[in-house]
């Protein structure tokens, strides 16, 4: 999964980048988009990772409640898979063991960041995202006054994208989690990044907010790699959850144009 995800740009992402060329106004931005598309082709043909930052291994496990796992601990199995994938695939190991002191590289890109969820059924669904540092580091969370509503969300997302500039490698895919608690909001924002580009939230009001956010972000003029242009984001995904009467939590988790994901169901 790690090797496949880091070498093959998902079709929905590549086609969204190709479509962006049709509406982009800046000649320099169009040249950048062409280089991004050429890169995807070279990566596939020459077995090179799309990006040298092959990321933190983020893994979301949805485990059916009827599943009984034998023969070892599932978390160990995921980490063993990451270890093997990053070594066999000539991927970069980018994990520092101690975050605030000795930042020694763990040498095998473990531990993965693993989220587990119990779901109905007897299957295990594994979603893998090699998450680059440039875009992950632009994540933001803030709680707003409940009465501030939709405007607070739009202002916060626009401000985040504006101030991030070229750091997260636009054109972006933007995940937004609204509601729940602090960690719930950020987890929803991350989870939404597994959605297909072009998909919409099933809830009509939330889908309308996604459209409004995408238009607002693309009006900022940041453009591909922040050189200026009309293509700042390819899509914006919003997930929501009921929240406390005192709160309006908003989390933003940004994905770069190298929006690498891979999912399997066992």
């Amino acid at each position: 999964m790690a090797i496949d995800a880091t070498h093959n740009l998902p079709e929905d992402v590549e086609s969204a980048i190709r479509d962006a060329k049709k509406t982009e106004r800046s000649p320099l931005a169009i040249q950048i988009i062409d280089e991004i598309l050429e890169n995807a082709q070279i990566a596939r043909e020459r077995l090179l990772p799309l990006c040298q930052d092959t990321g933190t291994a983020v893994v979301m496990l949805e485990i059916g409640q009827d599943v009984h796992i034998t023969g070892g601990f599932v978390i160990d199995a995921v980490n063993e898979g990451v270890r093997k994938g990053y070594s066999d695939g000539f991927l970069r190991n980018s994990i520092a063991a101690r975050p605030f002191s000795a930042r020694t590289n763990t040498g095998d890109n473990t531990p993965a960041v693993i989220h587990t969820d119990i779901v109905p059924g007897d299957a295990i669904h594994i979603s893998f995202m090699p998450k680059g540092g440039g875009c992950e580091n632009m994540s933001r969370y803030q709680n707003f006054l409940p009465g501030m509503g939709k405007k607070a969300v739009i202002d916060f997302v626009c401000e985040t994208v504006d101030m991030s500039g070229g750091n997260p490698c636009p054109p972006l895919i933007i995940g937004v989690g609204i509601g729940g608690t602090a960690e719930k909001a950020m987890t929803m924002a991350k989870h939404s990044l597994f959605r297909k580009v072009g998909s919409q939230n099933e809830d009509a009001e939330t889908a309308a907010l996604e459209d409004e956010l995408l238009a607002a972000v693309n009006a900022l003029g940041v453009g591909p790699q922040a050189v200026g242009g009309s293509t700042t984001a390819l899509d914006v995904f919003v997930e929501t959850f009921p929240t406390h009467i005192t709160a309006l939590p908003v989390a933003v988790n940004i994905q770069c144009h190298s929006a690498r994901t891979k999912s399997v169901t066992l």
Binding site: R25, S26, P27, L28, Q31, I32, E35, I36, E38, N39, A40, I42, A43, R46, L47, L48, P49, L50, C51, Q52, D53, T54, F90, L91, R92, N93, S94, N105, G132, G133, G134, N137, M138, R140, C158, E159, T160, D162, M163, S164, G165, G166, N167, C169, A216, A219, L220, G221, V222, G223, P224, Q225, A226, V227, G228, G229, S230, C256, H257, S258
Partner: protein
């Protein structure tokens, strides 16, 4: 779009001819360094110890490549976020560095430093490490091998593509570009203040 072809080390004259938004290529030798290598170089300088490479006139590329597959000289090799190197850049320019390749914008003090030192900041397209690999012909580790992907490497490059973001005249492409293509009535934030 026309392309200006540069050879390294960069001359003052070549730098004078560059303007923001120019598409350029680099041919010759460039050196890789990220945060950790910058920190060590500047510590050596502060202690008055010799540097493992001559920086005068050189171009530094902010990259931590993937390991090469057998038969290749380097793996995927695109730029990393330049803002993380901001604290070290003025000192590097003091030591004679004339060109830098990374991605994203620089803080106001660093932009001013490029102007003062008659140096240039370029971006390569972030997330195109497979494409950029083709322009790197030879690789040799020259210092800090223990840093792994962050070691200083001497790269021989041919036609390595980049875009000028901060020129020696004090221009900033990211500011100009945003202003030109902005259709939003939101005020532009004074600084890009997100770290990382």
């Amino acid at each position: 779009m026309t392309t200006k072809h540069l050879t390294t080390p960069l001359t003052d004259e070549a730098i004078s001819g560059l303007r923001i938004g120019d598409h350029v290529t680099f041919t010759g030798v460039i050196y890789t360094a990220r945060d950790a290598a910058h920190k060590r170089l500047i510590e050596l300088r502060e202690k008055g110890e010799p540097l493992p490479l001559e920086l005068a006139g050189q171009v530094i590329y902010y990259v931590g490549p993937t390991p090469p597959r057998p038969g290749m000289v380097i793996g995927s090799a695109g730029p990393t976020t330049s803002m993380r190197i901001d604290p070290y850049t003025p000192a590097m320019l003091d030591m004679g560095v004339k060109g830098v390749i990374g991605k994203g914008g620089r803080g106001p003090a660093v932009r001013e430093s490029f102007r003062q030192h008659h140096a240039v900041y370029c971006i390569a397209v972030g997330g195109t490490g497979a494409l950029l690999n083709r322009h790197i012909k030879k690789v040799e580790i020259v210092a800090f091998e223990d840093l792994g992907t962050e070691a200083i490497r001497r790269l021989e490059v041919e036609g390595f593509p980049a875009i000028v973001v901060n020129d020696a005249a004090g221009g900033d492409l990211l500011e100009e570009g945003k202003r030109q293509y902005r259709t939003s009535d939101r005020p532009i934030p004074a600084v890009q203040s997100l770290g990382g």
